[in-house]
């Protein structure tokens, strides 16, 4: 047994664990008997990753650690395993999530102000239920509204290691058109600013 390849042990651990495993945890699980350095473990992981190239599985690192997952190219077949379709989220929910994601921490009121509509209680409930969003505190002031932020679960579920992995704040898909309209709308002295801003963003 002493000769068992650490790479294979890691594969087994990742296949059986039902949560992602951190480097530290893998180190622990490998046990003292085979004191491997983090570097050696990382190498074994990379070796596994290379081995899986071209297969339907991938070893990825997300916020809470390493996990094995079936690649998204397989979704058409794999999703046939269940009767129910994966949940599709409404635009309202996705916009709310995007706001929490990019502007956290922020309050429900902030979200409503930016979106220009009342936020339905269901949306927040769903986000809490998915454990994608949590309260991280309260803003001082009238009513001490709760401050919302995303969770590690959110990062895990969207295949991200950290918030920094998020796509940069969006480049608009139709900047010219919007720009033209907004420029027309904006007072003269602001036009320059907008031009500059859009130019900067598009780089």
């Amino acid at each position: 047994m002493s000769k068992t390849d650490p790479k294979e042990i890691i594969r087994a651990l990742l296949l059986v664990a039902d949560v992602p495993l951190t480097l530290r945890r893998i180190e622990q699980l490998l046990g003292d008997d085979r004191a491997l350095s983090s570097r050696q473990i990382r190498e074994a992981i990379m070796q596994l990753q290379r081995e899986m190239d071209g297969s339907s599985v991938e070893l990825v690192e997300v916020a809470s650690g390493y996990r094995l997952q079936v690649r998204k190219e397989m979704a058409p077949w794999v999703s046939r395993l269940w009767d129910d379709k994966p949940q599709k989220y409404s635009r309202a929910l996705l916009e709310t999530l995007a706001l929490i994601c990019y502007r956290q921490p922020l309050t429900r009121g902030d979200i409503e102000e930016i979106r220009g509509v009342t936020l339905s209680a269901n949306i927040l409930k769903t986000l809490f239920e998915r454990e994608w969003v949590r309260e991280v505190g309260h803003r001082e002031g009238p009513g001490r509204p709760a401050l919302l932020a995303t969770t590690r679960q959110f990062l895990d579920d969207l295949n991200l290691r950290s918030l920094e992995d998020l796509p940069p704040l969006p480049e608009l898909t139709d900047p010219e058109k919007l720009e033209a309209a907004l420029v027309r709308l904006a007072p003269k002295d602001q036009v320059m600013d907008i031009h500059l801003q859009l130019a900067a963003e598009s780089q």
């Binding site: 997952q69 995007a98 220009g116 608009l172």
Partner: protein
């Protein structure tokens, strides 16, 4: 990406396919009253509508006949008895805001105080539209990220040759605290969704159903477990009443004063 969020345009196409009376693209902030319902569902709100108008129609949103629209929105309020008043109100606020901006742009600027920049009211509108356009795009991008259980799936293999010990059950404390918090939340929603019956009755309700699935039909005394004494009989009786009240059991009596037979609701029809 086929799973991308439907844009307002796509959503409307669906409405058209579904044969909604409303098939015209909106030309401005005016919404035909008979289309209001569809409309409120198609757009996420007034900012969404404004962005749509700017993008699709190339409309100068400050060039709209504000007086006319305001009048029309006021008419909706009269029309809308049980419709989604709050949503329409948001459109109304937006129309009013546009009207205000327009009027301020038209009026000669008051002499500005020293150093104070009498800011152009349009700047705020532009800022908000831009911020919202960004959010919309961010939402689409977010939806396109590979998502667990939709695009990618956890890869698992059974550790079958040896027993995976079961995780310990939750602590009672954990369970009760979670429930207590739920109760407090649920109380806010409605005061009578959760009523208090003694738990012994609740537990017995499950057992009565269980027994009846076995026996098909029974009399009250059959459901009473010997050795439980009078308290047991009372609990069984209360459980049966509660089940009848919930429509889970049916009582039959062939003649006055005859024994009452208890069955699971619907079982007799099979």
């Amino acid at each position: 990406m086929t799973d991308a969020v439907p844009t307002a345009e796509e959503a409307r196409a669906i409405a058209q396919v579904a044969g909604q009376p409303y098939s015209e693209l909106p030309q401005d902030l005016y919404i035909p009253p008979d289309a209001l319902e569809v409309f409120l569902e198609t757009f996420e709100g007034p900012l969404d509508l404004l962005l749509y108008l700017i993008r699709r129609q190339n409309l100068d949103i400050l060039d709209i006949p504000v007086a006319l629209i305001t009048q029309q929105y006021l008419e909706y309020i009269r029309l809308m008895d049980q419709m989604r008043f709050d949503l329409a109100a948001e459109y109304l606020v937006m129309a009013a805001w546009l009207a205000e901006i327009k009027s301020r742009v038209l009026l000669p600027k008051p002499p500005s105080e020293e150093g104070e920049d009498a800011s152009d009211p349009r700047a705020e509108l532009v800022r908000r539209l831009q911020a919202y356009a960004e959010v919309q795009q961010a939402a689409v991008n977010l939806d396109e990220l590979p998502r667990m259980h939709r695009d990618v799936f956890p890869a698992r293999a059974e550790p079958m040759q040896f027993d995976a010990p079961k995780a310990p059950p939750p602590e009672l404390r954990e369970l009760l605290v979670a429930f207590s918090e739920l109760l407090q939340r649920a109380e806010l929603l409605s005061s009578h969704k959760i009523t208090a019956e003694p738990l012994s009755v609740r537990e017995r309700m499950s057992r009565v159903i269980d027994r009846l699935s076995e026996l098909k039909q029974a009399q009250l005394l059959d459901l009473w477990e010997v050795g439980e004494g009078r308290k047991g009989l009372l609990v069984t009786f209360l459980a049966t009443l509660e089940l009848v009240r919930n429509g889970l059991l049916q009582l039959h009596q062939d003649a006055p004063y005859a024994a009452i037979t208890i069955r699971l609701a619907g079982a007799g029809q099979a």
